[in-house]
Amino acid sequence: MTAVAAKRWPFLVPLLVVAALVGIFGKRLLDVQQGADPRLLPTVLLQTPFPEMDLPPLPGRAQGKGTLGIKTSELKGTVSLVNVWGSWCVACLAEHPLLMELAKSDDVPIHGIAWRDEPTASARWLAQHGDPYARIGQDPRSHAAIALGVTGAPETFVVDAAGVIRYKHIGPITPEIWRDTLQPLIASLRP
């Protein structure tokens, strides 16, 4: 009996392979069902220096707002958020009130990358909805967005005082994400 069973073991291989595949695919399906977005890409830029860029400032911002663009070397010295956004981006509007609140509390400087946008459209959008940004750099042809591995707006990077990317959030920042993830992270990055 055992001799026959031993001889037949290769016929169990397909069954084992199918069982393994069912396990792998089943886990992924359950993950997606529980809210994992199958389109999200893993971020490969974590713990790497913020890519070199020197983006021109946005003209036409309201009085008292910054006139500086985004230059990588100037991001060093303090923890900051870099938010990739555009006036064409509907989801950006969803997180905008939160960004305004953060800007008001002066907790952490928020820099904006105006991605694939007309400067006049960006400025109009900010005049209408409020301008939470310390610096704004224009990225009309996605050079900065591609350098940052951006796939869609909004995306927000946490950059530490040494200019290293410590976190990337894809999609709008919700109050929960701010409270549970970003705020503790930013606090831990401060000396």
Partner: protein, 159 residues
């Protein structure tokens, strides 16, 4: 007429989403840009190459590929630039690394296992067939007659 439509369709598909004003002046460089673009995945639509995608980010990626090629980068340098930012995911043809070992060798391995099992089974079946023939104790003459009969029956059944 039908043929003309077909030819036009094929021509359109091979042109991809590359606009005439995106093309590089140097045909050799443009050909390299096309080759690189066809190896890179559009990160918005995910199952198209950036060469064929009409997404705006894909267009900007195509332009960046051309910019870097025109600036003197090798094809490999351009691809590496994208991989550094978007990860291996941006490659439509995965690289041969420790992580993708199973992906590349899995099918060959499965084929090998299948072939091994099939060979064993065939060998066993062959051995068994040999045993039955010997047990039946037919002489060469009897075998020949049997074959003839079977051939005849087959022919009758077919007609």
């Amino acid at each position: 007429m039908m043929r003309l439509v077909l030819v036009l369709l094929l021509a359109a598909s091979s042109a991809g989403a590359v606009n005439p004003n995106e093309r590089l002046g140097d045909p050799a460089q443009e050909a390299r840009a096309r080759e690189v673009s066809k190896a890179l995945r559009c990160v918005v639509c995910q199952n198209e190459t950036i060469d064929e995608s009409s997404a705006e980010l894909a267009k900007d990626m195509r332009l960046l590929v051309r910019e870097r090629i025109a600036a003197g980068d090798s094809n490999e340098q351009v691809v590496n630039y994208m991989v550094q930012r978007y990860g291996d995911f941006v490659l439509l043809k995965p690289r041969f690394t420790a992580e993708t070992l199973a992906l590349w060798l899995g099918p060959a391995l499965l084929l090998g296992i299948g072939a091994l099992m099939a060979a064993r089974r065939l060998r066993r079946a062959g051995a068994q067939a040999g045993v039955t023939q010997a047990a039946a104790g037919l002489s060469a003459e009897e075998s020949a007659e049997l074959n003839k009969l079977m051939a005849k029956t087959n022919k009758d059944q077919r007609s």
